[in-house]
């Protein structure tokens, strides 16, 4: 072992983490680790609570995408009741989910990722943040703020609260949508759709402008996982889990109830975040990616017209069925945001959406239930077992960001090997490592439902393991 570098904390991602880099005797990068440094223990402390508390409790895993946990949890509790929820309740839940995808994807692009993309990866760290974007691109910053606001308002309209809503309950939802509320949400939807279409074009033009740099950044073959509907279209709310390979060939399709036969989570001693893999291929060979790029790679097509067109252009541009470069995540994320906004409009215009049949009641508890959906960052699974009183005996959460753990480690390693030569490192290069991580928009809070935090500091260790240099990013 040569030198060791550490980056702590990694910033402009949601949660807690650090990066360590080991250099060999020649000062070349030997190994890299992306550590997640928090664990909270939801899978333990939910035990003994009644299952109808889960949608409210488990969403505290994450303040960025609480709705994902809220709804995946509610779906698991529906199964414990053993009921199909009414069409209106189903559509209202999906509406809330689409609102969240708009807000979360916008937040990531505008507040967290755009400073790297628009101000430059090696811009002065003092301005390389959302405030810098506000100062340099005020119109764009306002657009980002308004898009997030719209998505959050969808959630607030349904639940009275933007973050940690109480809306979905076992067997349905606790409130309907009035005609006035629907109309007020419809008022701005066309603006939202247009703005997101413009944003897809913005990132598209950036990809064209950067050319090879964009395409090759942290690019590697992997498997991809995402939900698709019965026609193989992108579906962010329900469907079958599809796994495809780096050429886009379908390896497997399965339902959430089969997840334990298909997915395992490996544990490494140096991170509080586990490493999921496809069991048939073992770890690490069976590592896969999830989230926007994985879903765009997995799906045959998209059902809504504008996003469908953008997907076609995307595939023409990459000249392939599958895109492998990590920066394409940003592009895919905006195509999804556009699709979510279009889907939002479809749902708002559906006569069922203002229906009044909101809940199905059952007193007959099934022993377990699995709920699944596509959170903004990837496939999310909630699995509960209960006793006859409805108390949780076991809870297991497989969280979106966790699936990407191996991919983020891989991306960091590739970028480090590409840009780092010896212990003298420019801050801009350090930021490159974070840019690689940021592509995946990791929600480390979620991921460490078991813990999470990301800032970046580089510590360098020499061949004997002595700390010879410490370099803090952006200090």
């Amino acid at each position: 072992m040569g030198n060791k570098l550490e980056i702590f904390p990694v910033t402009r991602v949601e949660g807690h983490g650090k990066v360590t880099i080991y250099l060999n005797e020649d000062g070349k990068v030997e190994k890299t680790f992306f550590h997640v440094t928090q664990i909270r223990g939801f899978e333990k402390f939910c035990e003994g609570r009644v299952f109808w508390e889960m949608p409210v409790m488990t969403q505290r895993a994450c303040g960025i995408c609480p709705v994902s946990h809220h709804l995946a949890s509610a779906k698991a509790t529906d199964k414990i009741l053993g009921v199909e929820i009414p069409p209106t309740a189903k559509k209202l839940r999906e509406l809330m989910h689409m609102g969240q995808l708009v807000q979360s994807h916008s937040l990531h692009f505008f507040h967290l990722a755009s400073p790297d993309l628009l101000l430059g990866m090696d811009a002065d760290p003092k301005i390389r943040n959302v405030i810098g974007i506000i100062e340099k691109y005020p119109d764009l910053a306002i657009r980002g703020v308004k898009l997030r606001k719209y998505g959050q308002e969808v959630i607030r309209t349904l639940a009275g609260k933007r973050i940690h809503p109480r809306f979905a309950i076992p067997g349905g939802v606790n409130k309907g949508l009035t005609v006035q509320e629907r109309d007020s949400l419809l008022k701005d939807i066309d603006w939202v759709i247009d703005s997101l279409k413009d944003t897809v074009r913005l990132i598209r033009n950036l990809a064209i402008e950067w050319g090879e740099k964009f395409r090759k950044f942290a690019s590697f073959p992997s498997f991809y996982m995402g939900l698709v509907d019965s026609n193989g279209n992108l579906d962010l709310y329900h469907g079958k889990i599809r796994l495809c390979d780096h050429r886009g060939r379908i390896i497997d399709e399965f339902s959430e109830d089969e997840y334990l036969n298909k997915i395992g989570e490996w544990v490494e001693p140096w991170s509080y975040m586990k490493f999921p893999f496809y069991k048939e291929f073992g770890y690490p060979e069976g590592s896969y990616r999830v989230g926007p790029l994985a879903r765009i790679n997995c799906c045959d097509d998209i059902s809504t017209p504008l996003a469908k067109e953008e997907l076609k252009l995307f595939r023409e541009m990459i000249g392939d069925r599958v895109a492998e470069g990590s920066l394409f995540y940003h592009y895919a994320r905006m195509i999804e945001a556009l699709h979510s906004a279009e889907r939002l409009k479809e749902l708002l215009e559906d006569p069922d959406i203002t229906g009044t049949e909101l809940q199905v009641v059952s007193r007959d508890f099934k022993p377990e239930g699995v709920g699944i959906l596509e959170a903004p960052r990837g496939t999310l699974i909630h699995h509960y077992k209960v006793n006859e009183n409805g108390e949780i005996i076991k809870a297991n959460l497989v969280v979106a960001t966790v699936h990407n753990n191996h991919a983020m480690n891989k991306a960091v390693e590739l970028v480090a090997k590409e840009y780092i030569r010896g212990p003298e490192i420019k801050e801009g290069f350090l930021n490159m490592l974070e840019v690689a991580i940021r592509c995946y928009d990791p929600c480390l809070s979620c991921a460490t439902h078991a813990i999470g935090k990301m800032p970046l500091q580089v510590v360098i260790y020499d061949a004997e393991g002595n700390k010879i240099k410490e370099l803090v990013k952006g200090s």
Binding site: K44, Q152, V267
Partner: protein, 179 residues
């Protein structure tokens, strides 16, 4: 007028309070002209420097969080506990009903999807867990409490505006929300 310098951090939490801060929407853009952010999860400044206001989201559950908390306290004239976790311990403190070892074992060994033949519990280069999760005022002095899970953006705005005027905010009852 000189900008007010603000640092923020998140400890044992879900980031929801920081998100609620972003839920000030357009007002955030207006406030950005009066505030200079130092170290914060939304900036790329990693080290704390002396600031007027330090804002802490989250409770303390491991050694690294305690270190960060002490650093932000040393560097802040006024320290704000933002949200229920920082103020009282919140949901993360539910882990206190269980032994630390039980929690780790469940998460890393027993969970149905975990494949861990060696029964490895993460321990290299990751911070050690404390046996229990505590509110931040169990470790450092707190000047302002803004409770809520998360606090409503209006409450955060009120507190920030008072602080910008050099006052210690006292939240009116309608901005205090408990769930």
């Amino acid at each position: 007028m000189a900008k007010v310098r603000v640092a923020t951090t998140w400890l044992e939490c879900c980031s929801g309070c920081h998100m609620s801060m972003l839920d000030l929407d357009e007002k955030l853009v207006e406030l950005a002209s009066k505030i200079e952010f130092d170290a914060s999860p939304i900036t790329d400044i990693k080290e704390f420097h002396p600031v007027d206001v330090g804002i802490v989201e989250g409770a303390v559950g491991n050694e690294e969080q305690l270190e960060v908390l002490k650093k932000i306290r040393e560097n802040s004239k006024i320290l704000v506990a933002l949200g229920d976790c920082a103020c009282f311990g919140g949901i993360p403190a539910m882990r206190n009903f269980f032994k630390k070892e039980e929690v780790l074992k469940r998460v890393y060994v027993e969970t149905e999807s975990t494949v861990n033949p060696e029964k490895v519990i993460p321990h290299e280069d990751v911070p050690k867990l404390f046996p229990s999760v505590k509110a931040i005022d169990q470790f450092v002095k707190v000047d302002v409490y803004v409770p809520g899970c998360p606090p409503d953006p209006k409450a955060i705005e009120y507190a920030l505006r008072e602080l910008l005027e050099g006052k210690i905010p006292v939240l009116p009852p309608e901005l205090l929300s408990y769930e």
